[in-house]
């Protein structure tokens, strides 16, 4: 009896073979399977919500162009997420270098999503503000910490899966995750508990 991991590998292999044979529907299946995860991954990694869809489409264009080089030595999902991460990281780096020359009052400069408006009497306002703040902070988090945090919380990937995607040992993944959370805590709550005994 085959394990779920072996089953997934077989399914990946079958899908890849069909795509390599030029089956358009097989590629559409791949896109449909991963588009949600890829879209949110690039949005959170790059912080560019409005252009996330274009970026996510570019991920699949690269998947398509590189499909012949996929040797099957990792899971298909791992390979797709690696491409998405590389593209999102490159995008956030170029956005950061561009922002050095951007006017802060320029209305075209993207500042992340707005979940709440001024004067909004939403009873969950504080929670919503916290989410908005977090969404804006994520792209500034050190790259490796951000990768671990985003992968862990987006689809609750296991440490092993994140370790495969990032190409680092599980212990390092945990360390990145904890340091990332510590960084976020520092940014969001500052030293408000420092005086406590």
């Amino acid at each position: 009896m085959s394990t779920p991991a072996a089953e997934e590998r077989d399914q990946d292999h079958a899908l890849i073979s069909r795509i390599k044979a030029g089956d358009e529907r097989a590629f559409a299946e791949l896109v449909n399977q991963y588009k949600g995860m890829v879209l949110n991954l690039v949005a959170r990694m790059s912080g560019k919500v409005e252009s996330a869809e274009d970026l996510a489409q570019e991920v699949f264009v690269r998947v398509w162009k590189g499909i012949d080089s996929f040797r099957g030595d990792c899971r298909l999902s791992t390979w797709v997420y690696r491409i998405a991460l590389n593209l999102a990281i490159a995008e956030s780096k170029s956005a950061r270098s561009r922002s050095q020359f951007l006017d802060i009052d320029d209305p075209t400069v993207e500042r992340g999503p707005h979940f709440v408006n001024e004067g909004d009497d939403n009873p969950y306002r504080e929670e919503v503000v916290l989410k908005e703040q977090m969404f804006r902070l994520l792209p500034s988090m050190p790259e490796k910490h951000r990768t671990a945090v985003v992968l862990f919380y987006l689809k609750q990937l296991s440490y092993n899966e994140i370790s495969d995607i990032m190409g680092v040992p599980v212990g390092t993944v945990k360390s990145y995750l904890f340091r990332g959370k510590a960084w976020l805590r520092e940014q969001m709550f500052g030293d408000e508990i420092e005086d406590l005994e």
Partner: protein
Amino acid sequence: MDDRMIDRVCLYLAGELSAEEKRAFESELATNARLKALLGQMERLDATLADLPELKPSSAFTYRVLEKTVREPVGLLDGWTWLDWMKGLAPALAIGLIAVLWGKDLWAKTQGAFGEGAGAMDSVLGVKLFADQPFMLLGLLLPAAILAVAYFSLTNRCCMER
């Protein structure tokens, strides 16, 4: 805030402390207000991270990806073979031939009907509008020829893509 304290809180929240470490941590919580507050902050952080809103791909997402990949549009004339060219040019050549062969005959017929009018127009405008009759007819038929090329080219292209 020291990293060791944060790591302990993270490990506690992830359920990764041993039974003994967990007991020690929980008993420290009762006396250490700072640790308790830190735990509260990290729990809140965890909950917020896990509950961040997710974007939904647009309904045209897959279609757009396919447009850029498997159905990547090529230039109108890219990859044309001589056969494709012939399919496009044949109707245009046919229309051109008809224009040249029938032009003279058609002109002779229109001379009778509009000959005087044409002469009047010529004198008004000071130009011989109908003097070069085969070119006038070609001038009318040339756009039709171009449309024919475009039509057959495009339909030929669409058939190839399907």
